[in-house]
Symmetry: D2
Subunit: 343 residues, 4 copies
């Protein structure tokens, strides 16, 4: 019973198969191979627009490289106080941007709101060299709390971004889970709503190590390819990363996997409704549940082998925990967790 992270599970068998298929013959290295070309085409079709796609192996690399391309060293990046880039990347964005400022804002359910951003922007005077210059807004979709920005919410933020001359970045480490929830097209969830660059995640949802930076505007790419190389993130046998992403997208596998994980989360959340003392903290829209559980329930679950993270220091009687579901989480684990939780 492992609910600690969607990283805990392995890869989709089909993606492993794709690696074997990708292994044949000698091909040009560093991304000049047919599979990487195929990935670009696939992404272009998927997003209904010419896109520039750059595979990397971690979400932190995708985010930090994308942000450093969008944001000058004297820039400022606005994000939620609980965004992964702010709390879980050891300062990677500050490092890659050579010292841009991360401005962290509060916001309901782990989501930024235009009003909060607008309020914060007032403190940064344009053209005043003492102030880091507002350059990028970064959204996390799905958010760190398992909630999902609606298309309207994204559009609201992107309208502000456009008005203020900022770029809009989306950290889509769990983009598939968000999209499965939204039920709209990838285009509608991104550039049609004003997103400029997407960190397109696959690792948490079935790849071994594959993310992609997707630029919706060719002019934003600028020196990204040099940045990726200089950071050691350009893989020589790129075909093996591209193969994962191609297979991930094939036949809608990515959305099926995400829908499966989301469904398990929904089922677990519903079941938790019947657990004495359980209180769900945020709307369950993707594949994560944040729930307050009585401490004795938590002890019982852990004693039975359930793995999950405390999301806040334990309180006297209860603790906020995080439960993350993967499409590889066994159905039976969800049931067993609920059975034990119910006592």
């Amino acid at each position: 019973m492992n609910f600690s992270s969607d990283n805990a599970y392995g890869a989709a068998p089909e993606i492993l198969d794709a690696l074997r298929l990708a292994n044949a013959g000698a091909v040009p290295s560093y991304g000049d191979d047919p599979l990487t070309a195929a990935l670009n085409e696939k992404m272009t079709r998927l997003f209904e627009r010419e896109v520039a796609v750059y595979p990397v192996v971690t979400g932190t690399a995708a985010n930090a490289l994308a942000l450093s391309t969008l944001c000058p060293q004297h820039g400022a990046i606005f994000c939620h106080a609980d965004a992964h880039i702010a709390t879980d990347e050891c300062g990677a964005p500050e490092f890659y941007t050579h010292g841009a400022k991360l401005v962290t804002l509060e916001g309901r359910d782990g989501k930024l709101a235009p009003e909060e951003i607008a309020q914060s922007l007032k403190h940064f005077l344009k053209g005043v060299v003492h102030h880091s210059q507002p350059s990028v807004i970064s959204l996390t979709q799905a958010s760190e709390f398992g909630t999902v920005y609606t298309r309207g919410e994204i559009a609201g933020i992107s309208a502000l971004a456009r008005e203020q001359g900022l770029k809009l970045h989306m950290d889509g480490a769990r983009f598939a889970n968000a999209l499965a929830h939204l039920g709209c097209t990838p285009a509608e969830a991104t550039w049609k709503a004003g997103v400029d660059v997407l960190s397109f995640g696959a690792t948490k949802n079935g790849a071994l190590c594959a993310e992609a930076v997707v630029f919706f505007n060719p002019e934003d790419v600028r020196d990204f390819e040099y940045r990726r190389k200089k950071a050691g993130h350009l893989l020589s046998k790129m075909r093996f990363i591209s193969a994962q992403l191609v297979s991930y997208l094939e036949g809608g596998r990515w959305l099926q996997s995400a829908a499966c994980a989301n469904g398990l989360a929904k089922r677990l959340a519903q079941g938790l409704g019947g657990v004495p003392g359980a209180e769900i903290a945020y709307p369950v829209e993707a594949n994560a549940i944040f729930v307050h559980l009585p401490n004795e329930t938590i002890l019982r679950l852990r004693a039975a082998g359930a793995r999950f993270l405390d999301w806040a220091p334990p309180e006297e009687k209860r603790t906020l925990i995080r439960l993350v579901l993967s499409f590889m989480t066994p159905d039976a684990d969800v049931q067993r967790f609920l059975d034990i939780a119910r006592g």
Copy 2:
């Protein structure tokens, strides 16, 4: 009537004289000159302790170089949300530390409180590589709002710093004004209260361009001298910076100047008590006043030639402004400002 900044005024005539005296003969460059040696001795006597002193020409350089020496690139620096390092240095600390994280906290009257820091520290797990590791607390003394940490307040924060293994940095761009208010010794206001490194300001209080990074513990110096050189902050004719600092300290000039500026601020603040609609926002303890004034009063003052900064966007009826006093501010200007303000 210039109350816009203590940078608006020039240098103390005695400090200019000191430059002329320093000009004689040929001496070793890059800080191996007698005046720089004299500065070290003077500072050691002043602080009643062997200190390592490094002159630089800006407060931003002093802060950023000091912080980058204390804080690894994977570290976090805790400061007030309105600290100069957070709002007015264009991300210099992030740049010099190669991406350390600035954690900005709220706090009454522009001052950090141990409770807020302790609360924030809980979010940074020790030894967890995803999290920037808490490394430094930076206080601004006097604060950006013209308030002054008491020795007890500093000791409270330094106790937390010691307990958590953090270094304590003090941004003393207006250290003289703070000390003039506190009335204690420089030692009591710094290392005896737990401060590890001080950015010792002189420019705002009578120098042309002279600040000093003062290390109270030799082991903290580490690679500071290389950092200063690599940043282009090691001056060849160092004697001219050291001469300013030596003259600044001579005969207590620095404290007299600061006391003079503080006294002018006190007088102006008292006078504002009689101005209709005036409301002082923070205790006036150093050389700056933050006051809400009716918008028509502000218009009248500016029409008469008074210069000062809005500190927040104007409200409907009134605006928060900042008034900064220098020991060079003419007495008559204070009186005239009050006369006009009273209408």
Copy 3:
């Protein structure tokens, strides 16, 4: 007939199999998994010494992260003018070290010699802040020209390094090929000869994307783990990188593959002896051949589909080309290449 790079070929089938085996179940992420633990043990046994092993996905990442851990920002790194870190990593070492200086030296057959290093060191005065401080010597083993440092040569350089207080780094992107040539133990080829840190390559010799930074002295690790994370080089599903390395080492697979590639190179080199106008430029000791061929021979080879790189601008009559062999290079390709070359 692809001789362009050992990156052109894919992965060993056994390593692909290992990925499938690694896929079972849920395990802790970010390197706290059993396979990563197994890798550490395997490496410790292999090197006959407690080592600290950190898997990454590119050689550039391995080199730059290792060097940035060994070398302060004010340091200097000595390497051959043709070293990969100097010519093919787009300044990654300078970026990761925050501006350390790469000092590039000439040296016979792509190898550094102690005399050249000693000569260069004289220009860097110890403790003089204007000078980058000598900190690391980096060797490439096998070298960029397919030659291999003897154990004596390494020991000669490491003696100088010890004497001068420098660390010794080995870029072992083709360490297996070098070791297969030397015929000694991994320990003898590294720490017993004075190497402090090894970039242990596997990608070029059968992995999909797997290198490891191997520290022979625990005190050298310092903040490496934070650096890896901050750079986005800490993989969440680390088991899939560790699995490649474990399988790579299993049963001596790595040395067999390298010996195979070296053998093919030897055979090709011998065959080239019979090609009119061919002149081999460097001793063929690993899996690469640098050979001057008549331009018409080159045209004929390329017309027949052979792929390889020019290593210098074409001269009037002939051109220096590079031929790289992989254990996956078909035997028949070597024969065919020779047949065509002979005309």
Copy 4:
């Protein structure tokens, strides 16, 4: 008898006077003052072209900030192996550019030649992400060996720069000495010969601490002002730096001082012609002499109090030393040095 550096002497008395004149009243800080405006106008007239001028306090800052504005992090900067930026700035250019590569070239008399640069450029393939991309050529005028590029030599290098799409930077720490030698106009020595950005030195030739970055093309300024601030190189009381530069230029003071120093160097060099065993190493065109002297002569000179630097490790019988002249070097010192040297 101090010939160790032109930094050893102090400032021109007139420049000290200018500081006192600059001290009157309250003025806007951070460069928005009348003196900084006057400097811009003066420089524009001097260079017969609209220029953008940014005062800083060290040559290292001027060079590193200028280069970081001209050169992307994935760029390469070509300079002489003995250039100050390569040997005496502790890696400042690499730091400020975030890891651009310094390519150091040999060249007769401390000067780069187009052929050497062109040869080196062949190793950097355009658009190949593995290679740092050639971006800037940096000349030192006068060179580190006291020689001066002729206008033709500069034009030859700038022609190559234009052809290859590189920017041309001139490190003019001793620009005045070079110009006094050339006898042409400042415009002819810079932008008319193809220079894009000039580090205009004044400290070595009479200022206390004042250099200026001069951009000849407004589009090259880009984010320079943010870079200067972020580096802590934007002085609050800027008037005191601008005042030095204005006074430096006034009535041709800068060229008179330089001509005086050059003249002393010439006289000393001529006198050395009569010193047994003396051999001058480079043409004496500016204010420095590099001369081989017998070791016993050197001992005698130092015993008599003469200060100067060894420029190479002492040989068996003689040593290469450097003698630098300032306009403040007493005439009598030159004579005395020669008298002692002659024995």
